[in-house]
């Protein structure tokens, strides 16, 4: 018996270690054990709240609508084309600019209440980014006016390049016999005299 003392101690140590590891993996500790395991009570998504596969039956649709805090009529999943959307709802593509600025939202800067379903592209629709609010004119009218203006300006600049100010009325007159030497004339030969004026 005396010789098995180390064996008993080792086995007890191993059992203790296993129990500690089990306690840690269960989480819901406090203080240092929470720190070590990285999990705390009431954190993370519960099993039923995570997105799931595309709902095929009406019961699945109803359960998914309930999960996402939508009514069954409002709930519309993405088409099942194998792109990985699952049962996530397809919300209308409206940005946060369109929401009432004067209503008392839970998150005033995001104009969102607690528990509201989040759009798939919510980060593109925050108030600093894409604005989908209705414009004064139709999109085509705006594009026509802007690009028409730019096109007109570019065309007029092109014409202005072709016809600059002060159109010359006579060929330009150069000194030194029409720059005879500078244009590579023979220095030995006497150039013909060029007279640009008459007094």
């Amino acid at each position: 018996m005396r010789t098995s003392h180390p064996l008993i101690a080792v086995s007890m140590a191993i059992v203790g270690f296993r129990r500690w590891a089990q306690a840690l993996s269960k989480g819901q500790g406090s203080g240092i054990s929470a720190l070590l395991s990285g999990s705390r009570a009431a954190s993370g998504a519960a099993k039923g709240n995570l997105p799931g596969p595309y709902p095929k039956t009406p019961e699945e649709r109803a359960a998914a609508a309930k999960k996402y805090n939508l009514t069954a009529a409002d709930y519309q999943p993405f088409p099942d084309q194998g792109l990985g959307y699952g049962d996530y709802p397809k919300l209308p593509d409206r940005s946060q600019h369109e929401r009432d600025p004067w209503y008392d939202w839970d998150h005033p800067d995001l104009r969102r209440n607690w528990g509201e379903p989040i759009h798939w592209d919510f980060d593109a629709y925050i108030r600093n980014r894409v604005d989908t609010s209705p414009t004064v004119l139709s999109w085509s009218s705006m594009c026509k006016q802007l690009f028409g203006f730019i096109g007109f300006m570019l065309f007029m600049f092109y014409l202005g390049e072709k016809f600059p100010c002060y159109q010359p009325i006579a060929p330009k007159q150069y000194p030194y016999n029409d720059l005879y030497l500078e244009k590579g004339g023979d220095p030995e030969k006497q150039p013909e005299a060029v007279k640009h004026y008459e007094i």
């Binding site: 600093n128 894409v130 999109w139 006016q145 802007l146 600049f157 016809f163 100010c165 002060y166």
Partner: protein, 612 residues
């Protein structure tokens, strides 16, 4: 060793020390004194201004210019980067102007922001901005210029988004950063080209060695950089949006100093621009388009700060036109004179806004001439200087530019629309004065509206003084490198003032017509086009972010998995293998004995043939 150049470099280095010391003081753990902003920061800037007058007067007297090179940051075999400060005409004249304007704005800001709990931090940001701006203008190499460039961009972001809990201010700050970033791409392209082809980032070396080279690519990069920083057409929406920041920020950054950094870069790089007609034409056309477009937009805005912002943008376009006319010194002159009257216009508007309990809509102002006579008179003075009234500050630069324009042999359309924009400047200036100062008040009576605070009046007075004499002072003391044309037809000489007067008269006529309603419903098409900035922000700020964000989101969430797991990974294996297997198995009909017989026959035949 000449004493004048020593005095020059000593005073200019002292200026940098005066400005950096308060910023370094904020790094200690001791709390700042109560009036740190007025006692330390404003005094530092005021001292720096008076110190900067010494090199200014030495330069006016002797024409002394200095280059100070110190601390080597990086020293490769043939490429080195030093701290190298260039004190030539541009930096020696611009530094006192910037310091004078900043001193006035800081004094104003100590009144405007007095109820802000983080006022010390505000002043610190403004001071860091000023240091970055001075780094930019005194830079003798591209690297230092880039440090100043990015510095002013970052401080602009922090200051526009000063009221960071306001979503519109955040959006405006983001817009400023993103549009400036697009310009920075151009600057980096230019720097990379210069580093690889000219083997140095020092300005004098760039100018010396670029003589016979084709500089189109770096010049296009520099033009893109200037377009981003100076809000030229295409990269302009950030400047009116930047009015979300406090008025001192608009006055300092977005009218006098930061936005001229792009034009300043063009002025610095003008020896490179001179030889490239494509770059000059591009500058001319871009500047002309900007000045007309933003002047059209300014006609129908209702926010006083936005009108002044568009006015700034229009003047920046005019400066770009001047660069395109190959007159960098005239552009620089306009930068200096513009700083005075534009900052004064912003300070006056800030004073009026605060007096009217933060009302910024000009339709709800009116009659301010009787309530705040000094402020409205200064505003009128600033507007007159802006439109180029003879012998005020703006006249010397603007009239010289228009004269150079009329005497140049360049793009006729660009010249025509610049003249039209000059006329529109008078129109929107009169509109502001008409709505703000003239007529009767259109707001409920508020009290007290008074002008008895010297913190407001003294800065405006100082800038008013500058708006009157600055043009004359600078012009009488510098000698222009390019001879201006002195003899021209009468109409060419008087074009600027005739066009401005016509603009004033038309605007006055239209404004006085508003006392009676002419039509039952007004014609809205042109008004909408102008008021909504030709729909440029509506179109651009919806399409490109939407496209890039959804593109990024799709790639990150779907395309990665789709490509690696389905198109190129296991599912591809499955589809290939099943295709192969079904093809091969369909081809096999299972007639094994026939195949063996044909194999044997072929073997026998080949053996017979090759043996005989």
């Amino acid at each position: 060793m000449y004493p004048t150049s020593l005095v020059l470099s000593s005073t200019l280095l002292m200026i940098l020390i005066f400005l950096i010391t308060p910023v370094l003081n904020t790094l200690s753990s001791k709390p700042l004194p109560q009036n740190w902003s007025s006692t330390h920061v404003k005094s530092a800037v005021k001292m720096s201004f008076f110190t900067s007058l010494i090199p200014l007067f030495i330069f006016f007297n002797n024409g002394t210019e200095t280059i100070v090179s110190s601390f080597t940051w990086m020293d490769l075999a043939t490429f080195d980067i030093n701290i190298s400060l260039k004190f030539d005409i541009y930096s020696i004249v611009f530094t006192p102007v910037a310091l004078y304007v900043t001193w006035s704005i800081l004094e104003f800001a100590s009144w405007y922001m007095h109820s802000d709990p983080a006022m010390n931090r505000f002043f610190k940001y403004l001071l860091i901005f000023l240091i970055a701006m001075i780094t930019l203008v005194t830079a003798n190499n591209m690297f230092q210029l880039f440090i100043g460039w990015e510095g002013v961009g970052i401080m602009s972001f922090l200051l526009i988004g000063w009221w960071h809990a306001r979503a519109d201010a955040n959006t405006a700050a983001l817009q400023a950063v993103l549009y400036n970033r697009i310009g920075d791409i151009g600057l980096i392209i230019a720097m990379a080209w210069i580093a690889t082809n000219l083997n140095s980032w020092e300005m004098h070396q760039i100018f010396l060695f670029s003589n016979n080279m084709d500089l189109t690519l770096p010049l296009l990069g520099l033009i893109l950089a200037a377009a981003g920083k100076s809000a030229q057409f295409g990269l302009h929406p950030w400047l009116p949006s930047a009015m979300e920041g406090p008025t001192p920020v608009s006055a300092l950054l977005h009218s006098s100093t930061m936005v001229v950094a792009g034009i300043f870069l063009m002025v610095r790089m003008s020896p490179l621009l001179e030889t490239n007609p494509l770059a000059l034409t591009l500058c001319l056309c871009l500047g002309a388009l900007t000045t007309l477009f933003t002047a059209i937009c300014a006609l129908t805005q209702n926010d006083i700060k936005k009108i002044i912002a568009f006015s700034t943008s229009s003047q920046l376009g005019l400066m770009m036109v001047t660069i395109g006319l190959n007159q960098p010194q005239l552009a620089f002159l306009h930068i200096c004179t513009h700083a005075f009257f534009k900052a004064m216009l912003f300070l006056c508007s800030g004073s009026i806004i605060h007096s009217l309990n933060d009302e910024q809509d000009i339709r709800k102002m009116g009659g301010m001439h009787r309530l705040t006579p000094f402020t409205s008179s200064s505003m009128t003075l600033g507007s007159l200087a802006l439109t180029g009234t003879p012998f005020l500050a703006g006249f010397f630069s603007k009239d010289a530019i228009i004269e150079a324009l009329n005497n140049s042999y360049l793009n006729a359309w660009a010249l025509l629309i610049t003249l039209l924009a000059t006329s529109l400047t008078a129109v929107y200036s009169l509109r502001v004065i008409f709505f703000v100062s003239m007529g009767n008040p259109r707001f409920p009576s508020l009290s007290p509206i008074n002008e008895n605070n010297p913190l407001v009046i003294n800065p405006i007075k100082r800038l008013a003084f500058g708006s009157i004499v600055a043009g004359l002072l600078i012009c009488s003391n510098i000698s222009l490198l390019k001879t201006p044309v002195m003899t021209m037809p009468f109409f060419a000489k008087t074009a600027a003032i005739v066009v401005t007067l016509m603009g004033f008269l038309v605007a006055l006529e239209l404004a006085l017509m508003t006392s009676k309603q002419a039509f039952i419903t007004p014609s809205l098409n042109t008004h909408r086009f102008s008021n909504l900035l030709a729909f440029y922000p509506n179109i651009m700020h919806r399409t490109s972010p939407a496209n890039s964000l959804t593109f990024g989101q799709t790639i990150a969430t779907q395309v990665m998995d789709l490509s690696w797991l389905e198109k190129s990974g296991p599912k591809l294996m499955i589809s290939l293998n099943t295709a192969l297997a079904s093809t091969v198995s369909n081809a096999q009909k299972g007639a094994v004995k026939t195949y063996l017989t044909s194999l044997l026959l072929t073997l026998v035949l080949t053996t017979l043939i090759f043996n005989f």
